[in-house]
Symmetry: C2
Subunit: 556 residues, 2 copies
């Protein structure tokens, strides 16, 4: 697939810009006041997710013109290509088949001629077997004690997905298995986790597509040293206490890992889309393989919805179009993600990676400078906490910041009275952000509170809230594996639609290569400076100078 260049200004962009110029002053409170059916009309349900998108600066015509842009950008054709194995990852000349990883039908995928399902199904069977052996105490370490604690060593796409899902599915844990995640190079990350582990019972899961990721391999080596120090220099340590998830099995074997403990990854799945593969092994081990397959089923359901539903009712397309609307027409530079669900505490981090690494590009698929802005900064925090942290800026700051409130009707762990308060807070914030409060309303409320006119003149301006901040409300019954799968797949497909409209490749990440290369190149100089400073007990300034001078910023 070599897409036609979209770098030339397209008619749909022009029409959209004109509509925006006419509609830019759309004030939501006015739209609601003039249109009593609005609240009910801008709602959509799919795959266990309910979206209220009425609190946006849009009218029907905005959506029509956005859909025209999607159509002109070839979104339908691109979706077809995604699900049929076209090389949508064009700069690496590969398909992106994360949908195959959660395909639960019997047939081939993406096609009989190019069917990845036999290997996918074999990997799933191997995961199920592994989880069963773990759960029943048949996976044993070198001292024959059953393995009970997993330490996941991985970073980026090999970390955030499993960490998010384990935190989200904690109520499903039934096998008495503990999981720790170690991602950073900072020794404190591994060391703190190991403090909570019994070596005899600990299994390390090393996840790295290349089996050469610096962070992950450094941690794997230190983990091995920790085991050998405590259990003796037994060659069975690598065989019994390590599992690898990698596309480079030969490297894992060279590390000493048993072939039976190596789970596959494939070139056609990118790290940030890999939760659905054996990368999800910590999730399957922690929450059970059935829960993991329910996660896959939820994502597969979203795949079907995305593939088959007309744009008007297609949730990923709709969310993508709203993002394009604010990013490209209003120039919004960020989007906030606010889960009102304790279990989704890591969702903002996960989406930071998914969205910013996928679409944080400024060169189009065909090598030209992209003519429109691409991914915004995605940031956020859990709901009722965020109200007490940064909502002040959403209410009274300077920027247009669209946000998504992700709200369960029921908590995973209900306590009397809590959930109604949480829901009231989410809905109140969504309304206040949208409506704001005018100076006149503020004056009236201060007057009602007994303030004098002179005081009101002074204090009212500080309590005015401009409002008109857009919010998507995404509701669901209660977080379970299926809902989580649908939710993550929703965002994956949203990102894909945006990439088509922005004409960038969401599946590469060329921007991160040079930093890794340079880090390797300067490491000896850094290490020498670091050690010299430590030995000579220099002052902070001397040590810092020595270190900084060791890797001059002037040239590679």
């Amino acid at each position: 697939m070599t897409p036609a260049s979209k770098d030339a200004p397209a008619p749909a962009w022009a029409a959209l810009r004109q509509h925006h110029a006419e509609a830019a002053n759309l004030e939501m409170r006015g739209l609601f006041a003039r249109d009593s059916g609005r609240a009910r009309r801008f709602r959509l349900e799919a795959c266990g997710l309910f979206l209220d998108y009425s609190r946006h600066r849009i009218v029907e015509e905005s959506l029509e013109r956005l859909r025209a842009l999607a159509s002109e950008s070839g979104v339908s054709r691109a979706i077809g290509g995604l699900f049929t194995g076209a090389p949508v990852n064009n700069t690496e000349n590969r398909p992106a088949l994360h949908a195959a990883l959660r395909y639960l039908g019997d047939g081939p995928f993406p096609s009989a001629a190019f069917d990845v399902m036999p290997e996918v199904r074999a990997a799933r069977a191997k995961m199920r077997d592994f989880c069963l052996r773990l759960k029943t105490g048949r996976l044993r370490g070198v001292t024959e004690r059953p393995l009970k604690t997993l330490v996941s060593l991985g970073v980026g796409g090999s970390h955030l997905g499993p960490a998010l899902a384990c935190a989200a599915l904690e109520p499903y844990a039934d096998a008495g298995i503990d999981v720790h995640f170690v991602s950073s190079l900072d020794g404190a990350s591994l060391d703190r986790a190991l403090q909570r582990c019994i070596p005899e019972e600990t299994l390390f899961i090393v996840t790295s597509k290349s089996f050469s990721t610096e962070e992950t391999l450094t941690n794997a080596q230190s983990a091995r040293a920790w085991l050998k120090q405590r259990l003796g220099d037994d060659p069975a340590i690598e065989r019994k206490h390590f599992v690898a998830i990698t596309a480079r099995g030969e490297r894992a074997e060279a590390f000493g890992i048993d072939a039976g403990n190596i789970f596959p990854l494939w070139e056609w799945v990118g790290g940030r889309y890999s939760l659905w593969s054996a990368v999800g092994l910590p999730v399957a081990a922690f929450a059970g393989m059935d829960a993991f397959e329910a996660l896959l089923a939820g994502a597969a359901e979203m795949d079907a919805h995305f593939r088959r539903t007309p744009a008007q009712a297609n949730m990923p397309i709709l969310l993508a179009l709203l993002e394009v609307w604010y990013r490209n027409l209003f120039g919004a530079e960020t989007r906030a993600v606010i889960p009102y669900d304790h279990a989704l505490g890591l969702l903002p981090d996960y989406l930071q990676q998914l969205e910013m690494e996928s679409n944080g590009k400024s060169v189009s698929r065909d090598g030209h400078r992209a003519r429109v802005a691409t991914a915004p900064v995605v940031w956020g925090a859990t709901g009722s906490d965020a109200q007490h942290a940064f909502f002040q800026l959403l209410h009274q700051g300077n920027a247009l910041i669209p946000s998504e409130f992700i709200v369960p009707l029921e908590s995973q762990r209900p306590l009397p009275g809590h959930q109604a308060s949480l829901l009231a807070n989410a809905l109140a914030q969504a309304t206040v952000l949208m409506r704001g409060r005018t100076l006149e309303e503020t004056r009236q409320s201060l007057k009602a509170a007994g303030m004098s006119e002179a005081e009101i003149d002074v204090w009212a301006p500080h309590r005015v809230m401009p409002g008109n901040q857009p919010i998507s409300l995404l509701l669901y019954e209660q977080l379970d594996p299926r809902t989580l799968g649908a939710l993550i797949a929703l965002y994956e497909h949203k990102v894909f639609v945006e990439s088509v409209i922005w004409n960038v490749n969401p599946f590469d990440q060329w921007g991160v290569e040079l930093g890794k290369t340079l880090a390797r190149a300067i490491r000896p100089a850094v290490e020498a400076a670091h050690k010299a400073g430590r030995r000579s007990k220099e002052t902070l300034t001397d040590r810092a100078n020595r270190l900084l001078d060791a890797c001059s910023p002037d040239g590679y």
Copy 2:
């Protein structure tokens, strides 16, 4: 203090804008190439923190003009006011005396006429006594078992500071005390913490200035119910298993908390500036009162630096001016905070609150519309993780995003080889973000790798990196209480300087009031809709519609 209106365009702003227009194309790699002394000249050390600010789009004149703006904005006078008890929180007519909380001298503070130190010192003594009794097992629950597990109930300013500091000072923990933090209304937050607690040994610390914060009091009530269910309906439960930190002691007493277990807060300290008060009790209990006082000492050292150092070498002023430079002259909408220190995982969240709640305002101190943009969105994640998550966008996205790398020379928990790799990564990223890679350099590197000219034509554009992203490198020896105190105080004062230049009050947060009020108002309707939907087993769409219709967005 009624500051003169700064809403009129000031000469220093005009001069700065003119300099920016001339200097806007400053390319850092060129600045380094032409000026071999640059790297060494833009460095500064204070209070155990070493700042390299050479990787910024500045020349000496930029800093001179920024300092002129600070001067014209009255920064010196404002700093004087901050430390002498002037009502710098003008919209609430109060001083902001967080510096008093860490003042360790013998004299009065802020002045003999208005000396808050007697109460501050009394509170510190009470904290020390409490920690000693806890550590020695003399604090006992209703069954006479020593209390060993603390559950902190608080949100926003009553949560993020202690949570950050406990995570950061974990190596200092010596009393065998566990601490859990519960902030959210989501029942899962409290319930998950309680699963790890033994009721007989659990002490709840309820932190709320007003002792009426909905999240905190809801959690306190559920915690009490949990204790009573397990330990019987003994009135001593509130007396022995609860501590309060509040400015409204009478409300805590009405809850049943013993006066001896109530620690004071004062109107002159805002939530997000309160870590230094008894709000830090979980830190003192967990890491020891000596560590807590070292934290205070580090902050006090930064206070002295901030108060007495000329602008040229004043670190908070310098960081504030750099933020003003990018925010107001280049229009940067966000700033990234990247701690290369596992122990500072919560720092981005903490700074989100500190910076965005303080300066996320668009009305000036004197009630006019602010004429310049104020706080950007602050976001980020720990260093080596972030490289694998969102650095792609920093390297090849569309936006100017200044970032701060916060880098310890030594990890709190060193493992062989890890720290040199971590440092090499931080420095490599800082250099690549600054330098980028030109098309010509990219072509050369692909040629050296053996690619054909035709391939290079196709693939080189995807590997070009624009560079010129500004980075502050903040180095320190190793994270300890004193360094942490200095670091947090550095940001507090940076925020204060910005507020003076932007002419907003950093100590109020009027924007968050209406949401709370509305949440209370709609709660009965929300609860009714929530319960009705649950009882009748409606579909998701029916339940969501019922809930949304119960609180119409059209009007308060």
